[in-house]
Symmetry: C2
Subunit: 407 residues, 2 copies
């Protein structure tokens, strides 16, 4: 049995690193705080007698040996980086429930047939470096090392530079790290489980994502003497686009279309100057690939309208595109059984958020577990999951590991 | 007669300081470039045998003595600071045409009855420090020294700190610097003169301005799993407001209502996070005070709608409010005569932009001259005014000075 208090205290301990005024965490990928969080985690695993390895992408792998270490390990994982003002559970729960599994096995001196491994993936959140989940994407061969390393943060630092000085760049390549199967426990980050009073769920897939950077180019002009009719206002064009596309997503009858503009910035801003450049960072999602394609087309349609209506030029860059992904049926069965063993009726759902599991599912059997987020809140300092739910998720994970690592 | 080439070369010389890639100038108020521009100007005036004084606000005053220095001087002025990506003429023409007037008088050894003075006002543009025209506002007693000094730039530096290290903070108070009357030559920064083929105009007033900072407060949430209906998106609220208020200004039949959002910023931005804070910097203008009041009320009306529609909170801060101002009738006559002497039929117009003259008009007889802006473009690196028009403006100014300084 997992130790609910121990797991909870470990989560709170990680939350102390990069703690924010509002009670959340700020450990942007490869920032000092992220590096400190990784080091703290490695101190904890070294107490469990495990050593770690890192690959060329800065992903960390912590192994607990099994009886037959020539067998591919059961890998549990998630991430320790956070949003600029993130919560204490997103990613952290997946990594630290892996640690809790190892602690329980050590306590009871259980040796499994296969080795068990915890993976900590680099740059999952995607706030500092685009795309999100790039450490696992590079590992899965979905992103070249060059593209991975060249991604820049807002200050122009590349991920590669930050990785090189982090102390976490290793020599290993994905081929050096076999994966038998991959499991990830995560908080839901949405309202469904709480609404239905379900304490733990099996996740059968991840909705599709499209990330676009849209540049609107207008013409700067003086705010006072320039008649409205003479303007080419890059911000008016951007605002108009945001409104119209929002209306489009609100038409989705099941409320399945998702549209977010997480950032908008004006080039050389000055209050009394009509903006000549506005950049918007767009996030669009849908559980249905066909609908996601339709939304992408709609973006281009609307941008054409904006060009005509506002006299601006427009450039669109795709920063990330991930189709809807389905997890492994066999593992979904294993997880359903593991949940049943906790006396919970298995419930299956799609994930609204992207997860490293989505990338790893392309190279290995993969599935996930979710526990509820209070009020569905995440990417927010007030993100919260109850201690009991954290423990229940970890227990289901342990049940699944005992099943998979002994077969 | 003014020397068109000399004036032109002097303007180009100032344009070398803080030169931008697109052929404009970047000398933000009290930046290194602004300070360098002021020093260059003072080197030029010292060649003309003039010395300078500075007041506690960092405004510069350069005097050419007259026959009776107990008489109040004729003051000519404008500013040398620019927008982040500004033009070479905005402000510069007014200051350097003052220098050209002194050069012509020196060349011809003309001594006027009254002294002549050039004023260089601090922080006219208002892009680095709010409000605009704050050096002349403080001088005219419209802004307290505390408020003047405490204005912060985007990095949190105060104007006062920047002034103290600039070397341009003097001991003089406004009472130490009498003004007989004040004239300002400026580029129009709008399309009217060019459209009507008018080479120089007399400016009889300045339209009213309202600067607002609006904070929209939402709730951060994950871009993927959060249903659109559950969101409180601060950026959606801001975009919706911008669109609706823009539609409102477009209703103005004479196209006299002006609305600009020169900057919009998102707090702790991250693409996959619903924005919890969005700040917009608003500039609203009208030639009619009643209409300007109506627009201000409309802002509050719309913000109430936004609160209901988007579930956000809103806070509004007034950064600047200037009513419509009219210039001095007597000086308008003098300038009309001065323009007629250049064989141009006098044409009167209101200014669309704010100018230091608007503040000085509150404490002294004041009026302005405009010369055309090519394509009406200003606050833009491509801002341009023909050499002939610059010279014509300076000539009209000289004509007026000879009239006023000998009476
Ligand atoms: N789980 C999570 O917050 N992932 C970040 C990537 C995404 O935006 O879906
Ligand atoms: N002339 C000029 O550009 N003034 C700046 C202040 C304003 O925004 O009107």
């Amino acid at each position: 049995q997992v130790d609910a208090d121990r797991l909870w205290q470990t989560i709170q301990g990680m939350g102390e690193i990069g703690k924010t005024p509002g009670g959340g965490s700020s450990r942007l990928a490869l920032s000092d705080e992220d590096i400190e969080g990784r080091k703290e985690f490695l101190r904890w695993v070294s107490h469990e007698g495990c050593h770690y390895r890192t690959d060329v992408y800065g992903n960390i792998f912590v192994q607990r040996t099994g009886n037959d270490n020539s067998l591919k390990p059961v890998v549990l994982g998630s991430h320790l980086d956070t949003q600029p003002r993130g919560g204490k559970f997103d990613g952290v729960l997946g990594v630290l429930s892996g640690l809790e599994v190892i602690r329980v096995l050590n306590e009871h001196r259980v040796v499994t047939k296969r080795p068990i491994e915890i993976a900590v993936w680099t740059n999952e959140e995607g706030s500092r470096f685009s795309p999100a989940m790039s450490g696992s994407a590079a590992f899965a061969g979905l992103l070249s090392e060059t593209d991975y390393r060249s991604s820049q943060d807002a200050e122009g630092n590349t991920l590669g530079e930050c990785l090189d000085i982090s102390g976490f760049k290793g020599d290993l390549l994905p081929n050096d790290i076999p994966i038998g199967c991959y499991l990830e426990l995560h908080i839901e980050q949405g309202p469904i489980l709480e609404e239905r009073n379900i304490p733990v769920a099996v996740v059968n897939g991840v909705q599709g994502v499209l990330w676009l950077d849209i540049h609107f180019y207008g013409e700067s002009a003086h705010a006072g003497p320039t008649p409205m009719a003479n303007r080419k206002d890059a911000l008016f064009a951007a605002s108009d686009f945001i409104n119209k596309f929002r209306e489009e997503t609100l038409k989705d009858k099941k409320d399945d279309a998702r549209f977010t503009v997480g950032n908008l910035s004006v080039g050389h801003p000055s209050r009394n100057v009509v903006p000549s450049l506005t950049i918007v960072n767009v996030d669009i999602r849908h559980v249905n690939d066909i609908e996601l394609e339709r939304l992408e087309e709609k973006v281009h349609c609307l941008l054409k309208e904006m060009k005509e209506e506002h006299g601006v030029e427009v450039a669109v860059e795709i920063k990330w595109k991930m189709p809807v992904l389905k997890f492994n049926d066999n593992l979904l069965n294993v997880l359903s059984k593991a949940v049943s063993k906790c006396d919970v009726a298995p419930f299956m759902m799609m994930s609204g958020a992207g997860h490293d599991a989505a990338n790893i599912s392309r190279i290995s059997p993969t599935a996930m577990l979710f526990v509820p987020s209070v009020n569905g809140i995440s990417h927010n300092e007030r993100e919260f999951t109850n201690k009991e739910h954290c423990a229940l998720g970890a227990q289901a994970l342990l049940n699944a590991v005992l099943d998979l690592a002994n077969n």
